[in-house]
């Protein structure tokens, strides 16, 4: 394609300024909207994953092989002997993609606050480190969070508290099958009540300090069930899990699981979300095909005489096709640039200020097991932006094929005579 052809194409576009501008505006606006949608959807996905994993689960969990999904108390990291917990944490933290890591112990048992009792899930955490990985501590509505060094405090959900009839300061007895087969039991004080909005969590999760739970379960300090990890980039979860898994396995056999494995419902929703974005893109491309084809057809027929003359003067059909295609390409590129320019302030606004749906959706809601607020922040999804741009460019080229083909088939003698 010669430079002169490109120049010609560009100039042709601007000969009918109004038409070109109209089409360009339409495509530019359309592209800006795609950017808006992609940004919003990316933000929604991020928020859902963030909320879903930050509450209790964390983005990556490292267990002993075989621990999941039965959660057998005996299957601690490193087997019965346990492991050097600090060393493992250090290995994990040395990966730059990791934001924070924390050890956890799990159990299940009976909680009794006379005269009622209920089956509960016990989670032993390190109060100083756990808030870096999950936000559970910020969901406390009454009382306070756990304090390191105060082993007899427990924190639990509001639904559990109301079902059993407990208040802050209530005495709580925990009964659980311990690791050695005996009946672990002890008395604790309720110091904090949380509300997450997730029914299962509010109804059955009991938080206590890690050493206290190890004590209750008759587990040695070196024995923990899990390391919970929070990442800097949520989307890298699966790759980081794989890396950490192989790294840690050099000393202790582990299984590192990323959140898509731990919460398939959430992963399913994320995929669904992507799919919707794809559908919207497709609708836009479809409309764009019509718009561009229409424009190019008019451009071609309007210049019948001129094109005929060019061909009579020796321009080959192939060159005519390339000319038309180049015009379409130029149109597309120009539109994309304008659209991108339009989009930047929108994207910036979405990321910084977010979209407030306060009117449409009241309060905090739970979707696919995740709590989502009514303020939606956008997130930059450059991949989607590029995909949209490329898709648009291809659409423009494809739309121009028919007009180009028609132009190439003008019979020069007839064309010249056309008024």
């Amino acid at each position: 394609m010669s430079g002169r052809l490109l120049q010609l194409a560009w100039r042709n576009l601007w000969r009918n300024r109004r038409r070109t501008l109209i089409t360009m505006t339409a495509i530019a606006f359309g592209y800006a909207m795609l950017l808006f949608v992609a940004c919003l959807m990316a933000g929604l996905r991020w928020q859902m994953i963030e909320n879903g994993t930050s509450l209790v689960m964390s983005q990556i969990q490292v267990h002993a092989p075989g621990y999941y999904p039965d959660h057998s108390i005996q299957k601690t990291l490193g087997g019965r002997k346990g492991t050097d917990v600090q060393a493992m944490l250090a290995v994990v933290a040395s990966d730059r993609r990791v934001y924070a890591a924390t050890p956890r112990v799990y159990g299940y048992g009976l909680l009794s606050a006379a005269p009622r009792s209920a089956g509960v899930e016990l989670m032993g955490v390190v109060p100083t480190q756990h808030p870096k990985v999950t936000i559970l501590n910020s969901e406390i509505t009454q009382g306070k969070y756990l304090t390191a060094g105060v082993p007899k405090d427990v924190v639990l959900g509001d639904k559990l508290a109301s079902t059993i009839g407990m208040r802050l300061g209530s005495e709580v007895v925990l009964l659980t099958p311990a690791a050695d087969g005996s009946m672990g039991n002890d008395v604790y004080t309720l110091v904090g009540i949380f509300h997450t909005g997730l029914d299962t969590v509010d109804r059955s999760l009991v938080l206590m300090t890690l050493p206290a739970l190890q004590d209750l379960l008759h587990l040695a300090p070196a024995r923990i069930h899990e390391i919970g990890i929070k990442l800097n980039d949520i989307t890298a979860a699966t790759t980081v899990a794989a890396t950490l898994g192989s790294q840690l396995s050099k000393t202790v056999p582990v299984r590192a699981m990323a959140w898509p494995e731990l919460a398939p419902e959430l992963a399913g929703y994320v995929q669904f979300n992507r799919g919707i974005t794809f559908v919207l893109f497709s609708i836009f491309f479809l409309m764009a095909v019509i718009g561009v084809m229409n424009t190019m057809l008019m451009a071609v027929f309007e210049r019948t005489r001129e094109l005929g003359m060019l061909m009579a003067l020796g321009m080959r059909p192939a060159q005519v096709i390339m000319l038309i295609m180049a015009e379409a390409a130029g149109l597309a590129v120009a539109s994309l640039l304008v659209g991108a320019a339009l989009g930047v302030p929108i994207l910036w606004y979405l990321q910084v200020h977010g979209l407030n749906l306060g009117g449409a959706a009241g309060g905090v809601i739970s979707l696919a097991g995740v709590v989502v607020g009514h303020l939606w922040y956008g997130r930059q999804d450059f991949l989607a932006y590029s995909e949209a741009a490329i898709g648009l460019a291809i659409t423009a080229l494809v739309s121009a094929l028919y007009p180009a083909w028609r132009a190439a088939h003008f019979r020069p003698t007839e064309a010249i005579r056309k008024v």
Binding site: A114, R116, G119, P177
Partner: protein, 258 residues
């Protein structure tokens, strides 16, 4: 939702309840016209039943987590049963009181009594070697099964009868069949096998160390083994048991009951 899986040890306690659960003496058997075989089986089923009893028992649980030995004393009167653990040290003083289907635990370490809710009580015995049949209900072997004699003769130098018990169509039992082997001479059981509907052996109970205690000839050692977990079993040894003795109602109480 989490379901509690109590361990073998808890389940075994409750095995004690059932074996000694009194009250329902063989009145059902009396009412029904019985053949000698049915009467024999019925007697076996109620070997440990009485209006009241006091037993000293040692239990050993062997599973993948290791071995655990527990000594306890069990009192039983009507539908009330109380188990007090004597050893090991960290469990001594734990008591379990069962009145009907109400179950409460006393925990000396916390000095509290905890009520196990009915639903939890029902779920608390799964994951163990024992099913509910063993633990809560009376085993109405005669009522629920039709019995045939499947073998009569010598096994291991002892003359035995072997009965195959097939559940009646309406009976609420999970087994495909139960095979019971007793000694011809004194009608004490030596072996009981529990099979699923496909004829596969799921678990077996072996009786041995026959002694006369409390006026009855009983097997003082019972060993329950699951068929699919090699090396795992629970052994119960009766060190002493007396039947139909007066027991005061106060025995069946726990401290700090709210």
């Amino acid at each position: 939702m989490t379901i509690i899986a109590w361990n073998y040890r808890t389940a075994a306690f409750l095995l004690g309840f059932a074996l000694l659960g009194g009250g329902h003496v063989a009145r059902a058997a009396d009412a029904v016209k019985t053949q000698p075989v049915r009467m024999t089986v019925d007697r076996v089923a109620h070997l440990f039943s009485s209006k009241s009893s006091i037993a000293t028992v040692k239990m050993q649980i062997v599973n993948e987590d290791g071995q655990r030995d527990i000594a306890m004393k069990i009192w039983s009167l009507g539908d009330k049963t109380i188990v007090r653990i004597i050893s090991p040290q960290d469990e001594a003083g734990v008591a379990i009181l069962k009145v009907g289907s109400d179950i409460r635990y006393y925990l000396p370490k916390s000095n509290r009594t905890v009520k196990i809710p009915a639903s939890m009580a029902m779920t608390s015995w799964m994951g163990s070697d024992f099913t509910i049949d063993d633990l809560v209900k009376e085993t109405f072997l005669v009522r629920d099964y039709s019995i045939t004699t499947s073998f009569e003769g010598q096994r291991g130098g002892i003359a035995v009868y072997e009965y195959t018990l097939t559940p009646k169509p309406e009976a609420a039992v999970v087994w495909g069949k139960i095979v019971l082997q007793i000694r011809q001479a004194d009608a004490v059981p030596t072996w009981q096998g529990f099979y699923d509907e496909d004829g596969k052996l799921v678990r077996q109970l072996t009786f041995s160390d026959f002694k006369t205690m409390g006026g009855r000839l009983i097997p003082t050692r019972l060993v329950m083994q699951p068929a699919d977990k090699a090396g795992e079993h629970t052994t119960i040894d009766y060190q002493d048991v007396v039947f139909d003795v007066p027991i005061s109602e106060e025995t069946f109480s726990l401290p700090n009951q709210k």
